[in-house]
């Protein structure tokens, strides 16, 4: 409850619109009631009166009341729902800003699907309850007492009898809601199973085909599909009960009108117009009251969603600027002493006890089997994770530097060659200063050996890439990421297995270009292909997170079995490529 209140305070940021919308609510209710009274009185008057001239006036008045009501209804909806959308957008922006700054350790342990759910369904659940939900609640809270007051003044007896089914339906809903909720959760889960099963089966089609598993898969799918059918039917049965009870209560509310009202008419204590008022207001009040029940049903879900959103909003920004950062003109010498890192919840450290010296303007190669900790080590240099042990840049501990100083000095080419679905120019200029011109961009593209490829783009530098534009090959993506890194003109360049999809010849040309282009720059290359690091001043061989050996290429051929074996295997592969 306190949490939801906290979110409601966000609505108060738009209090002028919100209050204007809320003020419209009683006006809507009053017009509604007035319409019923007008028609009821007219019916009564018809019985007693002597002429029907006044009916034209009634017609006009009805239209006027309806128009007034419509006007306020419009305002109510426009303002209150509008504010809820504004709050939604503000909340999403706040969450997004937070996400962009949360450390990688957070992103590593959270699934992106879950985060997207928080920004979509969870925000929507909270919005629905606090926006449209509270609008309907307020509407019912005005309409109900006002209508009861009118009806009570006609006949207390009938009014009391009419409320009995309402109370009954409240109990029925309370009893049925958990069942409905359980059923709908089961349906959602079984839908998830269906989609999971299909995803796995289609993605693994080669194994399915190879092992002749189509029938096995079909049988398995039939099982999850029929489970879904069962749950769907179960949910429909719960919904059917709810539907039946709600309508039964509604219908039963008319029973006292029919019997007690008819009796009173026989006794001449009320008139036919009054009876009409009961029927018509009963109709108008009942559904908003039922809506209250639905909204009450939304409440627990909204609370859970609010918690999930709140959790994200209060997620700790572990990696932040120090209070008193050391100013530094970065030269680019790294020194690692006994550096370790363990991912959250992982049983073993990914990097353990690594000590390496990297003088400014030299190249360090990082090699080792898949999963030996190469990428993790590279990420520690940019303080994407906070390492145990000591990492110093130009003799200053990383934690004492502002993120601007540290990351401002380095550029990074990621393993997954991530590019945005944006224009090619924007992708290359992504990390550069704002004043970078096309000439400079072209130069970087050339150094990354992408000029020919870019010249074949229909729209040149304005070419959209990704889903809604051209699809780049793996090699093109990698070279583009290198161009992006170069455009930043960094002191330290970090390449995380960034050349795996580039052929050997281009690779040699690229590496050569990288070294010459910067002239003086520190380079760290993690590579699968040992040829990529052959000329590095120092090469580290990692194995299960530890340094197995380090030295130059020639030294490692002597010292490391793994290095030597891998080298010869890869040489064979390369020879085969060149056949």
């Amino acid at each position: 409850m306190r949490l939801l209140w906290g979110f409601f305070l966000r609505f108060l940021r738009h209090r002028r619109r919100l209050f204007a919308g809320i003020l419209a609510i009683p006006a809507v209710a009053l017009c509604d009631i007035q319409l019923t009274i007008l028609i009821g009185d007219t019916l009564t008057k018809l019985r007693e009166g002597d002429d029907t001239q006044f009916l034209a006036g009634v017609f006009g008045l009805m239209l006027l009341l309806s128009a007034t009501q419509g006007f306020f209804r419009f305002l109510q909806r426009w303002w209150i729902v509008g504010v809820s959308r504004r709050v939604e957008v503000e909340l999403k922006q706040e969450l997004f800003d937070k996400l962009a700054r949360l450390p990688l350790s957070f992103h590593a342990r959270s699934r992106s699907g879950d985060i997207v759910t928080r920004l979509t369904s969870d925000v929507e659940n909270v919005r629905m309850l606090l926006g449209p939900g509270s609008m309907y609640v307020l509407g019912a809270l005005f309409l109900l007492p006002a209508s009861l007051f009118v009806l009570f003044s006609i006949s207390a007896e009938i009014t009391l009898y009419m409320t009995i089914p309402l109370v009954l339906v409240a109990f029925a809903m309370k009893a049925l809601t958990p069942r409905l909720h359980r059923a709908s959760v089961a349906v959602q889960e079984s839908l998830g199973d269906i989609s999971h099963r299909a995803q796995e089966s289609f993605a693994g089609i080669r194994v399915v085909r190879g092992y002749g598993l189509a029938r096995h898969e079909r049988d398995g799918f039939r099982v999850v599909s029929s489970e879904n059918r069962t749950h769907q039917i179960r949910m429909a049965s719960a919904r059917g009960l709810m539907h039946a009870f709600v309508n039964l209560a509604y219908d039963l509310a008319f029973l006292p009108i029919l019997f007690v009202g008819g009796w009173a008419m026989i006794d001449r204590t009320i008139e036919v117009g009054d009876l009409f008022k009961f029927i018509d207001l009963g109709f108008k009040v009942f559904w908003p009251v039922i809506a209250l029940g639905w909204i009450a049903g939304m409440y627990p879900r909204a609370v859970v969603s609010a918690e999930r959103i709140d959790q994200l909003l209060h997620e700790d920004l572990e990696i932040a600027d120090p209070v008193d950062p050391v100013p530094l003109e970065v030269r680019g010498a790294f020194s690692l002493r006994d550096v370790s890192y363990t991912y959250p919840d992982a049983p073993r450290p990914a990097v353990s006890g690594v000590s390496v010296e990297l003088p400014a303007n030299t190249t360090l190669g990082v090699v080792g089997p898949t999963g030996s900790g190469k990428s993790t080590l590279l990420n520690l240099l940019g303080r994407l994770y906070d390492a145990e042990g000591e990492i110093r840049l130009d003799r200053v501990a990383l934690r004492s530097l502002s993120l601007e100083t540290l990351r401002g000095a380095l550029a990074y080419v990621p393993q997954d060659s991530f590019l945005f679905s944006d224009t090619y120019r924007n992708n290359i200029a992504f990390g550069a200063t704002d004043d970078i011109d096309d000439a400079e961009i072209e130069r970087c593209i050339e150094r990354a050996a992408m000029t020919d490829d870019v010249s074949r783009f229909p729209d040149g530098l304005d070419q959209m890439i990704g889903e809604r534009g051209v699809t780049l090959s793996g090699g093109q993506r990698q070279r583009s990421c290198i161009a992006r890194a170069l455009a930043k003109d960094p002191r330290v360049l970090i390449l995380d297995d960034a050349l795996s999809a580039v052929d050997t010849e281009t690779e040699a040309r690229l590496l050569d270009g990288l070294r010459r282009a910067g002239g003086e720059r520190t380079v760290v290359i993690a590579a699968h292909r040992l040829g990529s690091v052959r000329t590095a001043e120092n090469i580290v061989v990692l194995s299960a997170g530890r340094v197995e050996a380090q030295g130059t290429h020639e030294e490692l051929l002597e010292r490391s079995d793994w290095y030597r074996e891998t080298w010869s295997r890869q040489q064979m592969e390369e020879e085969l490529e060149e056949l």
Binding site: M62, Q69, H107, Q232, L248, R268, I279, T370, E575
Partner: protein, 612 residues
């Protein structure tokens, strides 16, 4: 959602051909459908009955009592009238209870009907997808295949339940209610009929606007969420390049667009309900005006007026829903089109019309005879390739990426059919063999071998009848994959996360080898992984590979020297053609490409292994 997806939304509101095809799936559940319809009819009849009973009470005992009390004055005794009134009330009570029962049946029966059809259709589509060619899978994203058996099918469910049946019924309701209104009072009914077109017009105009507005909201929302996802997957790049503020600004741009799209729908809805209410009040006002005059003139009773009034409300509901039904129909038709498009695509690789029966166990004698293959209309990937794998022999294929090595594997698995020449096993063309029994006798280890979620045991069994506890235990022992299993928390019962994330690359390859071993296959098809693993696992994989291949026919795309050395025949592929073939020694003696390679790279290693 991209522009491309937008195009996929059909513009048709009604498609008889599609409906007719869907009805084919409904036919087995015909009784359910009739049942649903009957329940709807009963609920509707009871709905009409309640106001009629109200009228009966008002015009009957109440009116009579009032007349009597006027004429009789003080002598008036109300009790007989009250008794009649009580009867009416009891009738009403009964009708209401009955309505509750049928309302429950209405919802549950409609769901039962729809779900039965949906389940059939879903399993049919799934089964059909599994019959499709590998080439078709290659060009269709997995996500969109999943959509066919999830979202699209759900939409069809809507079509059956709230779409077809209810729409049909709503139209009937409108007609019946109008008829009843004429029965009560033709004059007033004419008035209503004259005015309802305004109501329908408002509803339809709004429907068009609302659909466009909603579509825009959905499109913008999809873009916004897409960008969110993109930034999440590239958050490393964003942070290293210190571009947090820039991506926030871009996101703000998307959100602003989202907000304005939403304001349009809010505006439409805020306008629609009041206008609809205004038109309704207008109709009611006219009815009151004319009807009031009739009551006054005595040509209409108050009870009749009230009956008319409430039946009129039963007319407004379905008309208001028309627009909504239209939208449901439209998206359902789009889904149906996509589903039928899949069902209408027939695979090229088909089951043989008259399979060659061969009950003898497979010997594993493979022959490629002048085989040629091209994907679709593309260039030839392999050309004139001929070789033989005699029973029990291992053939290792080496060659550059794109030389056609995997194609040989794909053809032997009959993922594709050759475009020229033929592949035979034990002398029979693969195209004439029943696939299921054939594949049951294969042992397969593929690169990036996919491990299904479920337990490790499930993954080793893969539903094969030839595999049991014992063979698995033996296979694990032989392949030394048992070490991997023992490390896992629950042994064989440990759950494998999606894509086998809890196991390392090397461990996964070991388990794949064990899986192949478990069925004691006659023919092994092995595509060795290229990624580097640590030395300990590497030597285990080498040993396990050796045990898997020994004594069996095997086609291996080889990356490991030890595998190549041990092969009975080595094929050197180059640009889709077979360049050299022979044993290790023969090829060395030939002094060709293989010999040159070997001389360059392997001599040291070979000496070493001989010494060790």
């Amino acid at each position: 959602m991209s522009e491309h997806d937008e195009d996929l939304i059909a513009t048709k509101v009604w498609d008889t051909a599609v409906v007719r095809r869907l009805l084919v799936y409904a036919r087995p559940h015909k009784k359910q459908f009739y049942g649903s319809f009957l329940v709807l009819v009963i609920v509707f009849a009871l709905q009409l009955l309640s106001p009629w009973l109200l009228r009966g009470a008002i015009d009957g005992p109440v009116a009579a009592a009032r007349d009597a009390s006027v004429t009789m004055g003080d002598a008036f005794d109300s009790s007989p009238y009250l008794r009649t009134l009580a009867l009416w009330a009891a009738a009403y009570f009964g009708a209401v209870l009955l309505a509750a029962v049928f309302r429950y049946l209405e919802v549950s029966q409609l769901a039962r009907t729809g779900q039965s059809v949906i389940h059939d259709l879903r399993t049919t589509v799934f089964g059909h997808i599994h019959r499709m060619d590998l080439a078709w899978f290659d060009r269709t994203p997995t996500g969109s295949l999943v959509t066919r058996v999830t979202t699209d099918i759900e939409n069809l469910n809507e079509l059956f339940t709230s779409g077809l049946i209810v729409l049909l019924f709503d139209l009937i309701k409108i007609a019946v209610v109008i008829g009843l209104l004429f029965w009560v009072d033709a004059d007033l009914a004419l008035l209503v009929v004259a005015l309802t077109p305004i109501l329908i017009g408002v509803s339809l105009i709004f429907r068009g606007g609302a659909r466009r507005a909603h579509r825009r909201v959905r499109a913008v929302l999809a873009r916004t969420n897409g960008y969110l996802q993109e930034v999440l997957s590239g958050v490393r790049v964003v942070q290293v390049f210190r571009r947090e503020e820039r991506v926030s600004a871009t996101f703000a741009g998307h959100l602003a667009e989202y907000l304005s799209a939403n304001f349009r729908t809010i505006f439409l809805f805020a306008l629609f309900y009041p206008i609809l209410a205004f038109v309704t009040v207008g109709i009611q006002g006219s009815v009151l005006w004319r009807g009031g005059a009739s009551i006054h003139a005595g040509t209409m009773t108050v009870g009749e007026f009230i009956l008319f009034w409430f039946w009129l409300q039963l007319l407004v509901g379905p008309i208001r829903e028309l627009g909504e039904r239209y939208n449901v129909l439209q998206s359902a038709f789009a889904s149906a089109e996509r589903i039928f498009h899949v069902l209408d695509t027939e695979p090229d690789v088909r089951r043989p019309a008259s399979p060659v029966r061969n009950d003898a166990p497979m010997k594993g004698h493979v022959r490629f005879e002048h085989v040629e293959f091209a994907y679709g209309n593309g260039p030839k990937v392999i050309e004139d390739v001929s070789f033989e794998i005699p029973p029990g022999h291992t053939v290792a294929v080496v060659g550059a990426t794109g030389a056609g090595k995997s194609t040989l594997v794909n053809l032997l698995l009959r993922y594709y059919d050759p475009t020229g020449g033929r592949v035979t096993v034990d002398g029979v063309d693969l195209r004439d063999i029943e696939m299921q029994p054939y594949r049951d006798q294969l042992g397969i280890v593929l690169q990036e071998d996919f491990l299904f979620s479920g337990s490790v045991r499930d993954n080793l069994e893969l539903g094969r009848s030839s595999v049991n506890e014992e063979t698995i235990a033996l296979a694990l022992e032989t392949s030394s994959a048992i070490d991997v299993i023992e490390r896992l928390p629950d042994g064989l019962d440990s759950q494998v996360a999606e894509r086998g994330a809890t196991l390392s690359t090397g461990e996964r390859e070991l388990i794949s080898i064990a899986r192949a071993l478990a069925s004691n296959p006659a023919l092994v098809i092995f595509d060795e992984a290229t990624s580097s693993v640590d030395s300990a696992t590497e030597s285990k994989i080498e040993a396990a590979t050796h045990r898997l291949l020994r004594g069996r026919s095997a086609l291996v795309v080889a990356h490991r020297l030890s595998t190549v050395r041990r092969a009975d025949t080595i094929l050197v592929m180059h640009k889709g053609r077979l360049r050299e073939s022979g044993t290790h020694e023969e090829l060395l003696a030939q002094g060709g490409v293989y010999a040159r390679l070997y001389a360059l790279q392997f001599r040291d290693e070979d000496d070493e292994s001989r010494a060790g």
